[in-house]
Symmetry: C2
């Protein structure tokens, strides 16, 4: 029940009616209801806007179940209509004028209640009672005598002193009400598109919202157990949105999984608790496990501004300890789409890229899968080279698989070669990359945490890293490569992954062709043992496959090379690739190079001179 | 003349009319006009939507000055109406179909022109001429023969090949037109308020804007020789803004100094040239003078995103050389409000704050001014203590002076004690502080560049820095103080300011009172030589005043102390303060402490134990 029931109590003559009337005028609308009570008093007898009833008609209403609760006080009977229950259910907050004697009964019936006790000094109350002249002198004295024992003894009571003006008292009551309830609003799609920003627009004529959110630059929106922080905007134009709704941007709609007409809860955006953690890192401090996990959670929740994220990332690129990288990797994995496999050993392979034609995965994977190990591989499309593994595989088969399709294929064939776009989505990557790119920020440690967090989420147990070293490769020097290797393996061990990084020759392209089709021809030639197949591609692939077989204990040391080559020579690897293609869905593309081709002949024979290191 | 005149030329049969027709349909509206030409050809004779005229009526129009330019070709007369001049003046771009022979005449008359030459291969043109069947066989052959010499020999010509479909040719023409003109739009105030953000909202039905700005997340808006980069938003709702206007946020309106109905130029936001400079700093590099000035200019222009600024500031807080701080100080000063004084020596004093009651400025300033030196002092309100110098001075006189008022007062009395809020506004501070604060970033070097840039802009020659050292002061240790002193003085020397930083005792409050009124009482007691006046306040103030007198060469070494004390003892300093108060405008506040007071008695006599360092 998302709405809050406010029970307003306090001695007669304290001015409750005037304060409630003021609050009603300010707040009543889609977010608050001040239901009229049914009272066995004439319509013109008092100041309150109640529904008058005779004893008989009241009794009829009780029999008909018209009241959520009814009581007797000072010779009169009071009833609160039943329909406040559906109001509360719909997220509307209900404010009811009642007596301290009835508080516990209300609380038993409705769980989310706030009791507000309005009080004033005896002198003030006496003056007010005499002024309204509703009671006899004797009644007045009676009432005054009861004041001392009036404060209800209930949990979470909020007391308001109404000793000064009605305006001040009303203001206090409104403050307490708006400050202690949840604000729910129907949402609308924001008809202003500022890109991928999280925005929430409210109407400045909406008094509840302006009171609750005054001074806030950001708000927290919650629905479906999800939340997101959005920039808060205001408009006076009814054309943009109705007073009692809020308009939210596409980013907010999709993050919360809501549609126009759904309700969201709106809260002041608290200063994220992890801001002090972030500031610690900005000052160069080291964060512990809890601090990193809290920070990453708030990062995904959108609690930080872009400049805060940038401050964190620049600091992190300057100093991160191995322990920080390990915890960061674990935290990132928690927010990455997870996969599970029915296998003790799940192999993955990741290339640090940058070498054209280095298409070893589609050869290694059929070898490993033909041997009987599980290797569910997801790959990117081209980033720095002419083709990514996904681009190449797409020449042969469908690669845009859903997680379910991928699971089916791997369970059937032991492997797959899929595009990672729909499979390993990492919201942490999204946030970090959008900040890192314009800053031109690159950090090996942050990269490693990103790569290994995805392997962790994808259920891998053994990850082989291909680390080509060469003047045009991502890693230029042997020293840099050695350091990266150590980092990969240390972080892997820290998160419970067996990681082996292999420094490879990255001084020249691999295979004969570059680009999806030519690389596919190379791969097929290698697997079908064609005499003209590129021997460097075969050699590197078999070497890596052999390493995996020995490393995972699948074959004895020294046996991997022979075993892997045997699987290629026997045609088993080729058959396995065909099986995987079949399972993924064969594409009927012809293995033809592009429309425009150009032959560039070398002006002499030989190999390039040794590069300078 | 802000509009651009596009002259479309090209051989007959090349398809000019079709392409122009397509472009007209896509672009014509508030930002583009495709004027009809007057031609001595029947209305139904051709494909172009022209205004037909007889030889006589054409001649009449020429006599009446109806044409900005007219010409004869292939036996027909062509005239372009004069009113395109007022269109161009109003920022509307005009697209005119003309002949290559007329280009230079147009260019002489209208300075901002772009010539677009539409061409096609001879075969394509021949086919098109035959198809439209407007010319005789002989005319067709004639025209084809002229193609070779057709390309106009004019500066900045853009050539479009119309060899494929009309759609492709039209697309190319639209691309060239929208890519080479300035986009002007009437502005409206954005009725959505997202705080202090720079926002620009355009209508997504505005085809010109969508073409020109597709894919841009930010735009550059220019008017009155000012420019600002704003986040770009789109809406489909006409309720928000008319199709051909743009709605901009308060921040953009005020920065450009425009109002609803004014025009602004809208440009794609170029990747700031200084992004590579910023990235260099983010990677830890050292920037030279040019690089720092370029960066600061783009920072003020709003060319960087918050995350880029944060990246820069976090990096700068980690490493800045003295030279970088010097150049940064100069660059910041350039964007700070400037003041000039008719004096060779202009003294200023700045306290690094944090010590309650340390109200020495209102004593030093009257001494220095009574001696005859110029000391135009601006101060902040309270930041870390109970009162700033401006808060204290406001007890006695008006402090919210305009630059003109300040100049008048200083010229008359030699000094002032004014609030800096309206006097030393620094847009660089605004940008940097808004990012630094949530990051909790503090950097002595960035602080020094901010402080000294304002002194530089304020026309100071000598700046005395009061640097209290103590466990509760801003500077905690002697070492830190020494290092700050060196930095202040080195950067001062680098920017041409004489700076002296004095390490002072910051272990306890100064004077007897804390807060505006009590500190004012202390100051007045000191200056009027009351027996009970706080001696520590007197001593520190006289010491600093003496230092200034000797330092500036106003009195000989060793004479400062006696001279300064003499000015206090003689009552000259008190009189000078009264004179300054008079000039600023006396406030009639009573020197009464606040409504609530509490006396806290020490439980023993003595002084606090020596603090641990």
């Amino acid at each position: 029940m998302p709405g809050t029931l406010f029970l307003i109590v306090g001695p007669s003559g304290v001015g409750k009616d005037s304060l409630l009337d003021g609050a009603r005028k300010a707040l009543e609308g889609a977010w608050f209801r001040f239901p009229q009570r049914v009272i066995t008093r004439l319509a013109d007898a008092g100041s309150e806007d109640h529904i008058p009833a005779t004893e008989t008609s009241f009794e009829d209403m009780v029999s008909a179940g018209a009241f959520v609760h009814h009581w007797k006080a000072h010779g009169l009977r009071y009833g609160v209509p039943n329909d406040i229950l559906s109001n509360l259910q719909a997220g509307i907050n209900v404010v009811v004028n009642t007596s301290r004697m009835e508080v516990e009964t209300f609380k038993r019936k409705i769980s989310k209640t706030v009791v507000i006790y309005i009080n004033a000094s005896r002198d003030v109350i006496e003056a007010r009672l005499r002024e309204r002249a509703r009671e006899t002198e004797e009644e007045i004295i009676n009432r005054l005598e009861r004041i001392v024992e009036q404060s209800p003894n209930t949990e979470g009571l909020v007391e308001i002193s109404n000793d000064t003006t009605v305006e001040e008292g009303t203001e206090k009551l409104i403050e307490v009400i708006t400050g202690s309830c949840d604000l729910y609003a129907k949402v609308d799609k924001l008809s202003v598109d500022f890109g991928s920003k999280a925005l929430c627009l409210l109407h400045s004529g909406n008094q509840v919202a302006t009171r609750l959110l005054a001074g806030s630059e950001r708000v927290r929106l919650c629905a479906n157990n999800k939340s997101i922080t959005a920039d808060l905007g205001w408009t006076e134009a009814e054309a943009f949105l109705a007073k009692d709704t809020c308009a939210i941007s596409e980013k907010v709609l999709s993050t919360l999984g809501v549609k126009s007409g759904h309700s969201v809860r709106i809260e002041r955006s608290p200063t994220p608790k992890s801001r002090v953690i972030l500031q610690k890192k900005v000052r160069g401090g080291e964060l512990n496990s809890d601090e990193i996990h809290t920070m990453v959670r708030d990062l995904v929740d959108g609690a930080f501004s872009d400049s805060e994220i940038a401050g964190f990332l620049v600091s992190a690129s300057r100093n991160l300890t191995i322990n920080e990288v390990i915890e960061l990797t674990k935290a990132r994995a928690q927010y990455t789409q997870k996969q599970k496999w029915n296998a003790e050993i799940v192999v993955d392979k990741h290339s640090m890229g940058g070498i054209p034609g280095n298409r070893i995965s589609p050869i290694i994977i059929p070898i490993i899968a033909a041997f009987g190990l599980t290797m569910p591989k997801t790959s990117s499309r081209a980033i720095t080279s002419a083709a990514g593994t996904a681009d190449m595989m797409e020449v042969l088969a469908r690669v845009d698989l859903t997680p379910d399709q991928m699971a089916q294929i791997v369970n059937k064939t032991g492997a797959c070669i899929a595009w990672n776009g729909r499979l390993t989505h990492s919201p942490v990557d999204d946030v970090m990359n959008s900040i890192n790119r314009p800053l031109g920020l690159s950090s090996a440690l942050l990269d490693i945490s990103s790569i290994l967090s995805k392997k962790l989420a994808a259920g891998s147990t053994h990850v082989l890293i291909d680390l080509p070293i060469g003047p045009q490769a991502k890693t230029v020097s042997q020293e840099e490569g050695e350091s990266l290797k150590q980092l990969f393996e240390a972080v892997g061990a820290g998160v419970g992954l067996k990681v082996h990084a292999n420094l490879a020759d990255g001084t020249k392209p691999v295979g004969h062709g570059v680009g999806p089709v030519l690389e596919t021809i190379d791969v097929l030639n290698v697997l079908s043992n064609e005499p003209g197949a590129p021997q460097d591609l075969l050699k590197k692939s078999v070497q890596y496959a052999a390493h995996i077989l020995e490393w995972t204990g699948a074959v004895d040391k020294g046996q991997g090379q022979g075993k892997a080559m045997g699987i290629v020579n026997s045609g088993e690897a080729y058959e396995k690739l065909q099986e995987i293609m079949q399972a993924q869905g064969i594409q009927s593309k012809k293995l033809m190079p592009g429309r425009f081709t150009s032959e560039i002949a070398a002006d002499r024979s030989g190999t390039p001179p040794a590069k300078r290191r």
